[in-house]
Subunit: 135 residues, 4 copies
Amino acid sequence: MLWQVQPSGEVPIYRQLMRQVEEAIASGRLATGDRLPSHRELAEQLVVAPLTVKKAYDELERAGLITTQQGRGTFVSARAAAASRPERIERLREPVRRLVGQALLAGLATDDLHRLIDAAARDWARERKQSARRR
Amino acid sequence: MLWQVQPSGEVPIYRQLMRQVEEAIASGRLATGDRLPSHRELAEQLVVAPLTVKKAYDELERAGLITTQQGRGTFVSARAAAASRPERIERLREPVRRLVGQALLAGLATDDLHRLIDAAARDWARERKQSARRR
Amino acid sequence: MLWQVQPSGEVPIYRQLMRQVEEAIASGRLATGDRLPSHRELAEQLVVAPLTVKKAYDELERAGLITTQQGRGTFVSARAAAASRPERIERLREPVRRLVGQALLAGLATDDLHRLIDAAARDWARERKQSARRR
Amino acid sequence: MLWQVQPSGEVPIYRQLMRQVEEAIASGRLATGDRLPSHRELAEQLVVAPLTVKKAYDELERAGLITTQQGRGTFVSARAAAASRPERIERLREPVRRLVGQALLAGLATDDLHRLIDAAARDWARERKQSARRR
DNA sequence: GTGGTCTAGACCACC
DNA sequence: GTGGTCTAGACCACG
């Protein structure tokens, strides 16, 4: 699987990594029991400090998404992929609430949001197709 | 107008303040020429350091939303409310992009988002009505 | 309050620190809202790396015992001291289970444990009195 | 005799093994002269690396609990079961001290501990009976 | 090889 | 001053 981080951004590197792992699990690219690259190996590949990757792994472990085994490696935990559809929907509720608040306070209507969402979804599908082609 | 900040949150206090001013202008609660409380006054009211409020005002002035007049006070600038509808929509594009990405990667469909948005909008309207009644 | 760590031990320094904070909260020496020393200050005092103290604080925050505020400091969180008596008892259940298993497998009886406990409690009370006198 | 380890736990596998041997000897399930399975055999059975079992055996031999006889196998040593009652009690002193400290610092009394111990002992006896029935 | 811990610096944003 | 992040090394225990 392909990993990448942008060190210059304002999002901390370790959070960028966490997000990629979360999304990989949510989307099924990483399944229960799959092994993640060792934090040193991934650090070398991404040209960041090992501790940085380690911190991302540590937080993911505390969140229950992955588990580590001394001397063996780091694996996607059983609990991780178990998120059911209602659960995944629930996780969107708060971000949606914030977005709706922002839009309505700006004097826009939900219809504007619906249009933006469909547009974003089209873009997203197109980008996916392209990045798949590159592989 | 009512101001409030949460010191314990992730978001810096000065950004919370900026956001409230921006939303107040976008929604019309603050109109061109309206006077903002002095940064000392507001700081006292919110129990935060004056420098913190000052920083929020400074950044808002740099963004052109407000203007300071020596010895008279701080006012909503003429340009501020001029944020056109296309502009306000543009500001939503990136947050929407992120939300859609999150949803699709989790295996959900845009329809799920549409439903969540309508639900959130209903909640938002109801809360507004209640908080208006309390005043 | 007095802090101390033993760098040569087999227990990681950051865990020794975590334990001290936990105990200080459990015993009421640290109450809700109390401020902890900054991680740099404490690191200097203990002659350890700031990151080491930081790691202890980070884990305690993730556990909900303390909260940090950008630029202000680190404080005992409201949830922390709220542990009710049943809760505190519950936390002893697993350690007790292990201890009992160890004793019974070794062919000892619960009476032996009861005696050991009373002896340890007497020692504990005496040590406390002495350390209080030293203060 | 039944052996089992949990690879995902905090405790190193070789220590889990050591502990099981120690407990088996202390409780009499393993007596002086009894033969332990070869480290390869046990490794295969537990699906762990042979080196891991070897390490556990090595440390147990260094502690004098077992002895290896070239080409014949590994046996519970004569000295092993000799742990006298005072000795076995002594080994509990430190764990008890920690437990008591934790309880008293949390504002609980020794009576609470006594109750918890009796409860845990009852559970332990019941579980033993059940697992014996299963065999 | 793996993960677990620690150091001694550094730069940044925030208050 | 505070906390937040990152680096480039190091040593140890585990498998």
